[in-house]
Amino acid sequence: MINTLSNNHRFVQFDITRKCNLRCAHCRSTSFYEGSDEHESIKDLTTEEVFEALRKLSKAGVERIHFLGGEPFFRDDMLDIVDYASSLGIVCSINTNGTFVTPAIHDRLFASKLYLLTFSLDGATPETNDPIRGQGVFKLVTENMKALDDERKRRKQYIRQIICTVVTKSNAHEMTKMMDIAHEIGADSLIFTPLRQRGRAGDNLDKLYFNDQETFELSEQLAQIIAKGHPQHVQMGLGSPLVAEYLNKKYGTKFPISPGGCNALTTKAFVQPDGAMFPCQELTEYFTTRGGKKITIPRQSVLDSGAKEIWESKLYNGLLSAFFKPDALKNYVPCNQCKYLGSICWPCPIPSLRGDRLVMHSCMMMMKKIKEEKIEFTNKVPISYQEIVNRSSTDPLFRDMLYVNPKETIDQYHYELSQQDCDRLMLLVETMQSYIRKNLVNIYESILDNKEI
């Protein structure tokens, strides 16, 4: 049961506009909004309506919004929206194609409390990037990122800027060079993500699809370069925790083995341009159960229904129970044998709800390699004190378990801490328990005095 009594540090991905000046070859968004008559009817909210939506989201405990689109800066009021969200206690970031983030908006940008800009760039050269994203885009985006980097250094005001690159068949050969380019233009991090076979990508699979084997081989190449000390910070979104562990052990990299996978409904939701809220980007219409029944997710606007009310509705709670029940993924192979399942990895449960027996090919391949190459591989998930604290700060279920049963929780999640970190963690929990014990009488009496609140 998820603890709904705390802030939960809720996170929303908000498609703030459906409009975009580009038509990227693998785009999820515009192809969705232009993909059917039904989706065509989804219109952007006005500024005031967005503000109202933000108030509703804030009331629901949302403290983090990542704005996507379309192209968010297509809206002239985008930074007004960021300002308003910030005033409500929401940390904002924006996913942008970068074409509008020119020096002309620097003053306005630095006047905001924007946390992060994620630029999309899909190649290290115009020849590779532009056929995917549009003619002239590479030059424009790299110039804009470099200018922003120069400006933040000049102002000594830090707005994070990172690059997100979708790895495809057409650009994989340039990923090493991407690291050089990212470093040159001042990207704080470079994220490699796999192609998702949806939206326009589904129509261009023959040109774009990069299979698991190819993806893994690329990961190995990059890991070797990173291990030699390449200055660019890289986040590998190319595979499962198994891949990260394998690469770390084989090449000495230090890719974090951090929580990933589905967090829909626990801490994350998705909002479309018209304010309709859904559990995630993948679950905006319906899914089909084992029995072949279509379960439709009602189209509910945060403006009309309220974000808190939707998020904590019986339907969402019911979905939550179904998504995260212990045996939800028992049909997944090799997840059902993997130490990471439930500890830090929780693949999308929808295929499982459909009753599909899903084989995670990349993980199967990984397990085979680990065995063949005799990589030391225990049933433990290495983790640090700080990573556990971080998880506890955003994951209410884990936090509550850890607080009451620290050792048992560590065991249940197969975590392995150094003795020093373990002692430190136990001490932290002990301190918190002692503190609460000490204050419990006062809290109890305060509540009693207030009678019915």
Partner: protein, 391 residues
């Protein structure tokens, strides 16, 4: 594994506080304050980049109000100091738990040494006569008291012991610890109750709010033949893994009627009934406010005869703009002519969509420095790509 609510109740009891004196609301608020204190305790120690940014930039507030009546509650919360960070001067924050007695580093706590003896590494103060930190042994049937923190009841069955009305169950499966588990005949009061073993009691006295009857095993769901009265009962997790309401009167609020296989298909009363999907009753009388007719998304639309919901969108093209009562026309107020599509110029009557091209998908100008549109776009005379798209 013990849960937080039970921990709170145990602590309160040890401190001589009478939890039963509190109303359900007050219990809820007590839990809420506790949870928030713990959350804050971890958050101020987090180095999660966005939390850190939010704190440094002054964006994040200490807490977020959640529901009615919480102004008073917030006052209480604010009156309670956030769990302080230790004044850690060394890198590891290693302190002895008890300077007087030292720490038991291996965590072992035996009956012989525990009564009033040294504290163990997890700070389970052993103050009772029978050690509260003994090796997990499981809750034996008939045992009247299982109060040791380490008791996890490693067996798959919940505490089925019925040795007394005051026994405490701390095993992993059973969340209704305060009253001995969900299978007892008494009421279950704790807010956090999960009833994970299923409400099998015939009196249906599961009063906790978030009770979900989530299956822990199989076949342990609402199989009572009468009313399933807990609010969130989802009736799922039957052996077949189908979400089946097998009770005779499927009326629980969140049952989506996914597979209402009970004989009574005449009345679908749940709030989120989608109708058009699973409501197989012949009357099509979908009365719920959330009816979206989603079963026919992108196909017909409101095909049932009594569609009274406001949000019916009518996914037909509605290109004729006429009104009527059959699926070929658009009768709802929200119809925006969804048929307008870049590639279907002929049906585009929306004022905002003016791209009159069956080939291009809009003013395709990736480089604003061109200050105009593609040469092939005869209709675009705007000064910037943004303006062009907006037109």
């Amino acid at each position: 594994m013990q849960n937080l609510s039970v921990w709170l109740e145990n602590e309160a009891t040890n401190l001589g506080l009478d939890i039963e004196k509190l109303s359900n609301n007050q219990k809820y608020n007590l839990n809420k304050i506790l949870f928030q204190m713990i959350e804050n305790g971890f958050r101020i120690r987090s180095d999660n980049p966005d939390i850190r940014f939010g704190n440094k930039s002054g964006i994040l507030k200490d807490s977020v109000l959640l529901s009615a009546g919480e102004v008073e509650l917030q006052t209480i919360i604010e009156s309670v100091e956030i769990i302080p960070i230790d004044n850690c001067t060394n890198g590891t924050c290693m302190y002895p738990c008890d300077p007087g007695s030292g720490r038991d580093q291996n965590g072992a706590c035996t009956n012989g040494t525990c009564g009033g003896g040294p504290r163990d590494a997890i700070s389970r103060s052993c103050t009772d006569g029978t050690c509260t930190h003994e090796t997990p042994t499981g809750c034996t049937n008939g045992q009247s008291s299982c109060s040791n923190n380490g008791c996890v009841n490693s067996g798959t069955a919940a505490c089925t012991n019925n040795g007394g009305s005051n026994f405490t169950c701390t095993d992993t499966d059973c969340h209704n610890i305060s009253e001995g588990g969900c299978i007892d005949s008494g009421p279950c009061f704790d807010v956090y109750c999960g009833n994970t073993m299923g409400c099998e009691d015939k009196v249906n006295a599961c009063l906790d709010q978030p009770c979900s009857n989530t299956p822990q095993g199989q076949g342990l769901k609402c199989i009572d033949s009468g009313n399933c009265s807990d609010i969130s009962c989802r009736n799922e997790g039957l052996p077949s893994q189908q979400n089946s309401c097998v009770d005779g009167l499927c009326k629980d609020d969140v049952c989506c009627n996914r597979v209402c296989i009970d004989g009574n298909t005449g009345d679908c009363e749940d709030d989120v009934c989608g109708n058009g999907r699973e409501c197989k009753d012949g009357t099509f009388s979908c009365k719920d406010s959330a009816c979206m007719n989603s079963g026919s998304v992108a196909q017909e639309s409101c095909t049932n005869q009594n569609c009274v919901d406001n949000s019916c969108v009518d996914f037909n093209l509605c290109s004729d703009g006429s009104a009527g009562a059959d699926p070929t026309t658009c009768t709802d107020n929200n119809c925006q002519n969804a048929g307008c599509h870049y590639s279907i110029a002929a049906t585009c009557i929306d004022t905002w969509c003016q791209v009159d091209s069956t080939e291009k998908t809009g003013c395709y100008i990736p480089n604003p420095s061109d200050q105009g549109c593609l040469a092939s776009d005869d209709h675009c005379d705007c000064q910037s790509s943004k303006e062009c798209i907006e037109k």
